[in-house]
């Protein structure tokens, strides 16, 4: 491990475990500009010599340790898959972009027909690919979340209180996401996006035993959660929202997570163990895609394919729009 950061013993051991298993050296650094969830810059994704974990500079204690632990878990899962030559991500092609945009457009037309205040055509067209990319990003990240969180919960019991706080914070941010675009994007996609996070929150609330995660009651700002169990804490916000449809879809997605994320968490943590977690993430992603009827939207490919696709995204968007709208566009 390279870095001048004090880290709690169990997390340091976990870092050493990852280094030993993957044959790598992990550089850990603080950075003012780092995203709140920290960032993993790994050899399996980027052309770097070491694996890097950066975390926001203002985190000095256990929150920082939790961020590091979660990124190490992600690294282990990626690394185990990469060592078998099987590490793939959701990417896209010219055809898959067309599939996605066409479906979003058809759904948008249905929504627009019911609206009093119509969305200007140029805005509607612009929205198609933005929404598509939004789901691309979410589906590449969200299925990792319940798996890495459960993994950290099982491996690092001393971080559980921190984890609870972090999950509540993260959940709130995810709920706020897209709110500003609520009136613009087709309702179906707003609901599906929220439902994924709903399912994630409920899955974690069920999976992480409540007694270990009682809130830190000395914190005035958290007093309102006093005496609540983690399940109530993570789920209250959903039952108090008017987004009933999110709940309906979310319940189905929760079933998907329950049936896809099945693992012996206490098994020997070798490369097979982490590779199995990778397969679970893949399975969860596929099942969510199928449920949301998005199977033709994306393709599983090596990271390089996705990086190339992102370089060509404007071209793919233009070609897809031309196929949908013909000469009416451009």
């Amino acid at each position: 491990m390279i870095g001048n950061i004090p880290i709690a013993k169990p997390v340091r051991k976990f870092v050493f475990h990852a280094e030993e298993l993957l044959g790598t050296e992990i550089v850990i650094a603080r950075d003012r500009e780092a995203p709140l969830a920290g960032q993993l810059i790994d050899k399996f994704t980027y052309p770097v010599e070491n694996d890097y974990i950066v975390f926001p500079a203002h985190y000095v204690g256990l929150i920082k340790d939790f961020i590091i632990a979660k990124q190490v878990m992600t690294l282990l899962i990626k690394g185990a898959a990469a060592k078998r030559g099987e590490y793939k991500v959701l990417s896209f092609t010219e055809d898959s972009v067309y599939n996605g945009l066409r479906q979003i457009y058809l759904d948008a037309l249905k929504d627009e027909a019911k609206k009093e205040k119509k969305l200007p055509v140029n805005k509607l067209i612009e929205m198609l690919f933005l929404l598509y990319l939004h789901f691309h990003e979410d589906l590449n990240e969200l299925p990792w979340n319940p798996v890495t969180n459960t993994g950290v919960y099982m491996k690092l019991p001393k971080l559980r209180k921190t984890q609870l706080y972090y999950l509540m914070k993260e959940g709130k941010e995810d709920m706020d996401e897209m709110i500003e675009q609520m009136e613009i994007i087709p309702r179906r996609y707003f609901v599906l996006s929220k439902a994924m996070f709903y399912a994630r929150d409920y899955f974690l609330a069920k999976t992480l035993p409540a007694d270990e995660l009682m809130p830190v009651i000395n914190i005035p700002q958290m007093k309102k959660f006093d005496h609540l169990e983690v399940k109530e804490m993570l789920t209250t916000r959903w039952t108090h929202t008017a987004w009933y449809q999110s709940k309906v879809f979310g319940d189905s997605m929760l079933t998907i997570m329950d049936t896809s994320i099945v693992n012996d968490w206490n098994a020997n943590p070798d490369l097979d163990y982490y590779y199995n977690l990778y397969r679970i993430i893949g399975r969860t992603t596929d099942n969510l895609l199928s449920y949301m009827t998005m199977t033709g939207w994306f393709v599983w490919e090596p990271v390089k394919h996705m990086q190339d696709a992102l370089q060509k995204k404007d071209e793919y968007e233009q070609k897809a729009l031309r196929r949908i709208f013909g000469d009416l566009i451009l």
Partner: protein
């Protein structure tokens, strides 16, 4: 009272350090110290840079200089604790953090360093207590920062 110009040079140095321009920051701190060698904050600012760069023995010596000038310099005690932890001098790290916390009980870093040091020494129950305090403070600070950031 410290020399006014020395205070200004430390401020300038901190602005450089925030942008990771450590060379310029150190020059500014040296100017501050040259103007007022009894200004503890000047020595401490140098210690912060040394610690940031992983030079913990040097940072420790600089903390000691600052503390020799001002025994009640809470941040310097806290940084000293961090340096001692990094040098694996755990009992001394605990003592330094305890002193820092006596001066400022709301320092999440001092609680955390105390916790990790106690854990290293095989005193898990005391470590948990320190970690609990550290987490409480970190959460409060984080929630306040979030409120500022989002306005909610």
């Amino acid at each position: 009272m410290p020399v006014k110009e020395a205070v200004e040079w430390v401020k300038k140095g901190k602005a450089y350090a925030a942008r990771k321009r450590f060379k310029e920051a150190l020059k500014a701190y040296d100017r501050a110290i040259a103007l007022d060698p009894a200004y503890a904050a000047g020595w401490f600012a140098k210690a912060e840079i040394a610690a940031e760069q992983g030079q913990f023995a040097e940072a420790l010596a600089l903390c000691d200089k600052a503390l020799a000038l001002d025994q009640n310099f809470a941040e310097a005690w806290s940084k000293k604790g961090l340096c001692l932890f990094s040098l694996e001098r755990f009992p001394e790290a605990i003592a330094a953090c305890t002193r820092a916390l006596a001066l400022n009980a709301n320092d999440p870093t001092a609680w955390y360093i105390k916790g990790v040091s106690l854990d290293e020494m095989g005193r898990p129950a005391e470590a948990q207590e320190a970690f609990g305090k550290s987490l409480e403070l970190e959460i409060i600070l984080d929630m306040e920062a979030e409120k500022k950031r989002t306005g909610r």
